[in-house]
Symmetry: none
Amino acid sequence: MRILVVEDDANLNRQLADTLKEAGYVVDQAFDGEEGHYLGDSEPYDAIILDIGLPEMDGITVLEKWRADGKVMPVLILTARDRWSDKVAGIDAGADDYVTKPFHVEEVLARIRALIRRAAGHATSEIVCGPVRLDTKGSKATMNGVALKLTSHEFRLLSYLMHHMGQVVSRTELVEHMYDQDFDRDSNTIEVFVGRLRKKIGNDLIETVRGLGYRMQAPGAAGKDARP
Amino acid sequence: MRILVVEDDANLNRQLADTLKEAGYVVDQAFDGEEGHYLGDSEPYDAIILDIGLPEMDGITVLEKWRADGKVMPVLILTARDRWSDKVAGIDAGADDYVTKPFHVEEVLARIRALIRRAAGHATSEIVCGPVRLDTKGSKATMNGVALKLTSHEFRLLSYLMHHMGQVVSRTELVEHMYDQDFDRDSNTIEVFVGRLRKKIGNDLIETVRGLGYRMQAPGAAGKDARP
DNA sequence: TCCTCGACGACCAGAATACGCATGGCGGAA
DNA sequence: TTCCGCCATGCGTATTCTGGTCGTCGAGGA
């Protein structure tokens, strides 16, 4: 999961980025509206944290531009506590959520988790796929109740696949969400990680769709109709 | 749009309900956790406003029960400002949003609007043609409920045909959409793939219009000829 | 009305290719 | 040092393309 933090306060920005990285996210940072807008426009983020008061370009403007361009990624805005009109403006501009400053970092984390899982269509913080259970809250995964020992990349891969369960996820999509900018696309890293992950959770859960990518699904879930 | 308000403070409950009704929503009210849970479980609401501090059954518990039952409607929780841990717990329990008391009613309204609009975006993208069902998001196709095993070209072909259901699609059109650039037009690959696809989904669905191309249509929908 | 001819599409099967996977080695970070 | 992540290579196989042949449709003439 790849996240962009747009915040001009260098300290706060770093603090957020560190916390997010610690929680297993890939984080890009921007320190003014211009830069933030450019990055958000050109890179595929799973969520964006956006401060309202920014130099160069106001946060609301940045957000409006994204939405006008058809970008739909979840955006969490940061506002000052006493400016509740900002919140309404932000929400009407297309923000998915907000947090008022000063805030607890855990709260931002919880909201980011919620936004991401909501964007994927999941209601709760646990995603289950057959015997595998992903705890987005604790960044842990278990299989049949026992904890899986995964490296950070393996976990990111599993996490992205489970957040997009049932969908075919292309190799490039995976690369873009597991790494920050510029990564050599001409390598078979993803295949290697898929191989290792399969070795740990079994071959049945991750199906490879030749020419398209990978799809995660519970083995018995064939023919599951969207509307029973 | 139908909304449930679960709030034990009778005044606040009425105030919320009135505002919502004024905004054009249909509103049900509950005054304790038990009642709220029952209503939310049995009636199809488009959104729910849920207080955390409730008699009979705690708001978090109510929410967890709904989510455990597979209910996915958007839920907005109300928390006291100083109980930030409640927010985190609520979000992780599956809340889609929260508002801290005391709040401005406009804000609640804006958030409800946002939740409903967001929930509407989760509609599954499915195209149905007779017994065949195409899940564009999951790159999957089923026939009478069982998954079709298609190669990527076959899937692309089926996808294009189903996206233009009822229309005659020319061979060149198909070539242009299934391949990147300059492809040798003097080959019969399309016919081969149509043949293969027919072998998998039956001959009735893809009709060949001699000299023009192919048309996909549900078998029962006959008689709708473009050319008498 | 029926027959014949030309054109178009369906089908088949072998060949070439692209694709995905496993393995082992290397360098860097913990 | 040990683990982790990255890269290069080679292999096996599914998938796709090619070329050919056969069947079918439609139109025009007898």
